[in-house]
């Protein structure tokens, strides 16, 4: 067995550099090619559907440096993927950050908002990126910020600008500068990878010959908990991304799996079989101490997730004879059954506002992601695949990331929380499993 090794994300924001290991061919189905971006390749993005409401927005190429067009293209791709924006052509506009904006002209072109800016390469080789956002209806400025960064950091700067545009227009915090984690299986090798929310810039956090499942982000984004089979059985590890330091946080007799962080990051809920069948426990995330048993059933209890207030846990149990979702308070009490439709509901994920529960449900032999409104108990199918698994909410609750099987291979897929806009990101030389969306970046 090859021993796993780690490489941290110290070389983060490798945006404009070609990756040494994986070669990407980026193809944005609705936007055409991102000219000029070094091919990081073999990642293909396909988008379909449109949001219920689409804000018409114009994103002009940033002036002053060749990088300006690339930044604008990344922003356009971000906003398009959300499904909440319709891009208005900016051809022939030549705007700098200091250009007085002819609001009426942009309004005539159909844009309610116009973003523009300038990139300047400073003598020390850094880049200064200045951006403004104008409201053509109110005929005034909405935002204006200057960023400074290295060439490698320009992609991140572009995502941060996307986040500002998104929040200024929709009133909801953007998630374009967040990260995702997933397991890439290539042959007999498993890699735990961290990538930008658009699938770009992947970094390898762990490489192993044995399976890795169930990655879970700490609330501050600094650590991942996951299950690795490297010792011959499932053991839960906590992995510090900046230092690559990792340790087994739950390694008891039998299986150790399904880690979930408490909202304050101090505790992990884990599933252990030390006392027989799978049951839910909590341990200290810092060192695995303070083991405490949460559920007591003679059957399977697994896949815990904390409610946003940290006071209860949603989990999967087959105590009714088939797997269903339950909720139990951390201070005791009887678990309450949450799902009743269908004979197989697993993998609960609660929305950041606590009002919506995602599950994977089996209906007619297919596994699909279902969204359950906990206020009025109505459910809606978010996906229509044969084998859709491992859903996770974006930290703003507006999108859902999941693993889907297409053409016999497992790919990364996304869907807006209202089910209207779908996207897939497929890597051509491997299978993507167990994706999970990270928290807001600081």
């Amino acid at each position: 067995m090859m021993s796993p090794h780690s490489s941290g994300n110290r070389q983060s924001a490798r945006s404009f550099l070609p990756s040494a290991r994986i070669w990407f061919a980026l193809c944005l189905a609705m936007l055409g090619l991102l000219a000029g971006l070094p091919a990081h390749a073999q990642l293909r993005v396909d988008i379909s559907g449109t949001g219920a409401q689409q804000y018409p927005v114009a994103i002009a190429d940033f002036s002053g440096d060749a990088a300006g067009a690339q930044i604008a293209e990344i922003i356009r791709a971000d906003l398009t993927r959300s499904g909440q924006f319709r891009l208005i052509s900016t051809s022939g506009s030549n705007l700098t950050v200091d250009t007085p904006i002819a609001f009426d002209e942009w309004r005539t072109r159909g844009a309610d908002f116009i973003a523009y800016g300038t990139v300047v390469r400073t003598p020390d080789g850094r880049f200064e990126v200045k951006y403004r956002l104008g409201d053509t209806v109110k005929r005034g400025p909405l935002d204006g910020v200057a960023f400074s960064g290295t060439e490698k950091e320009l992609r991140r700067v572009a995502h941060q600008i996307s986040d500002r545009i998104y929040e200024k227009i929709t009133g909801i915090r953007g998630v374009f500068a967040t990260r995702i984690a997933y397991v890439l299986k290539q042959g007999n090798t498993y890699e735990l990878q961290i990538a930008d929310a658009d699938g770009q810039n992947p970094q390898v956090a762990l490489r192993s010959r044995e399976p890795v499942i169930s990655p879970a982000w700490s609330p501050d984004g600094s650590r991942l908990a996951y299950v690795s089979f490297e010792s011959g059985k499932p053991v839960v590890y906590v992995h510090q991304l900046a230092t690559s330091k990792r340790f087994p946080v739950a390694n008891f007799k039998g299986n150790n799996s399904a880690p979930a962080w408490s909202p304050d990051g101090s505790q992990l809920a884990v599933v252990l079989t030390r006392d027989g069948l799978s049951q839910i426990y909590t341990v200290s995330a810092a060192d695995g101490s303070n083991l405490r048993r949460i559920t007591r059933s003679p059957l399977i209890d697994t896949e815990p997730v904390f409610s946003p207030d940290g006071r209860s846990i949603y989990f999967t149990s087959d105590r009714s004879g088939s797997p269903q979702i339950y909720q139990v308070g951390l201070d005791g009490g009887e678990p309450r059954r949450i799902t009743f439709n269908g004979g197989y509901n697993i993998s609960p994920r609660i929305s950041p506002d606590g009002k919506t529960l995602l599950t994977v449900t089996r209906r007619d032999g297919a596994y699909r992601i279902v969204s359950l409104n906990l206020t009025n108990n109505t459910e809606s199918f978010l996906t229509a695949g044969r084998d859709d698994q491992s859903p996770s909410f974006a930290p703003n609750g507006m999108q859902v990331l999941y693993a889907s099987v297409q053409g016999g291979r497992s790919v990364l897929a996304g869907v807006s929380s209202d089910g209207r806009v779908r996207q897939t990101l497929s890597i051509l030389n491997g299978e993507i499993r167990e994706p999970t969306w990270g928290p807001f970046s600081k």
Binding site: P211, I213, S214, F229, K233, P234, K253, G254, N255, S257, A258, V271, T273, G276, L277, S278, S297, P298, L299, I300, T302, E303, T316, R319, P323, Y344, I346, S347, V360, R362, Y367, D387, Q389, S390, R433, E434
Partner: protein, 159 residues
């Protein structure tokens, strides 16, 4: 409470079926031929303990079916006669469904085998049950036969 009663009934049923099997001698089952299959040594590839070390399950099932009870009993009697011998029961599932639920289901299969061993007199300290869920499939295809091959608990003896 209901679940506890159900569990007690299950154990009673298992015990009853074991009692029913107990008149079958090990040698009869093994065929005790000149090929060495009558040797009870899990580390001898010719031994029945090495050749027949898998219990198969129905889709989403976790009860040891009648046809595998004599196999489990053979292993159980051997283990009961060798209190120092340790074994890991490894549960597996087919590829359908979620990773974590399958991990739990595989564990439930391994645990079903362990409970039978306990009734035969194997000490708890001899047996560890673990699960690989759907993560380490023996059959890599997605036919019904491949799925059936992967719904399995294996005896893995420790040296």
């Amino acid at each position: 409470m209901k679940a506890r009663i159900a569990k007690a009934l299950t154990i009673a049923a298992v015990a009853a079926s074991l009692a029913a099997c107990s008149s079958v001698s090990l040698d009869d089952q093994a065929g005790a031929g000149a090929d060495g299959s009558g040797i009870l040594d899990p580390f001898n590839p010719q031994s029945i303990l090495a050749k027949q070390r898998s219990v198969y399950f129905d889709f989403n099932g976790y009860t040891v079916s009648e046809q595998y009870r004599s196999l489990v009993e053979t292993h159980g009697k051997y283990l009961a006669s060798k209190p120092q011998q340790r074994v890991v029961i490894e549960g597996n599932t087919d590829a359908r469904g979620g990773s974590e639920y399958n991990l739990a289901l595989g564990q439930r299969r391994a645990e079903a085998v362990r409970r039978m061993l306990t009734l035969i007199g194997v000490s708890d300290t001899q047996v560890e049950t673990i699960s690989f869920g759907k993560e380490k499939p023996k059959a890599l295809g997605d036919s019904d036969a491949d799925y059936a091959e992967n719904r399995r608990a294996d005896f893995n003896y420790k040296r």
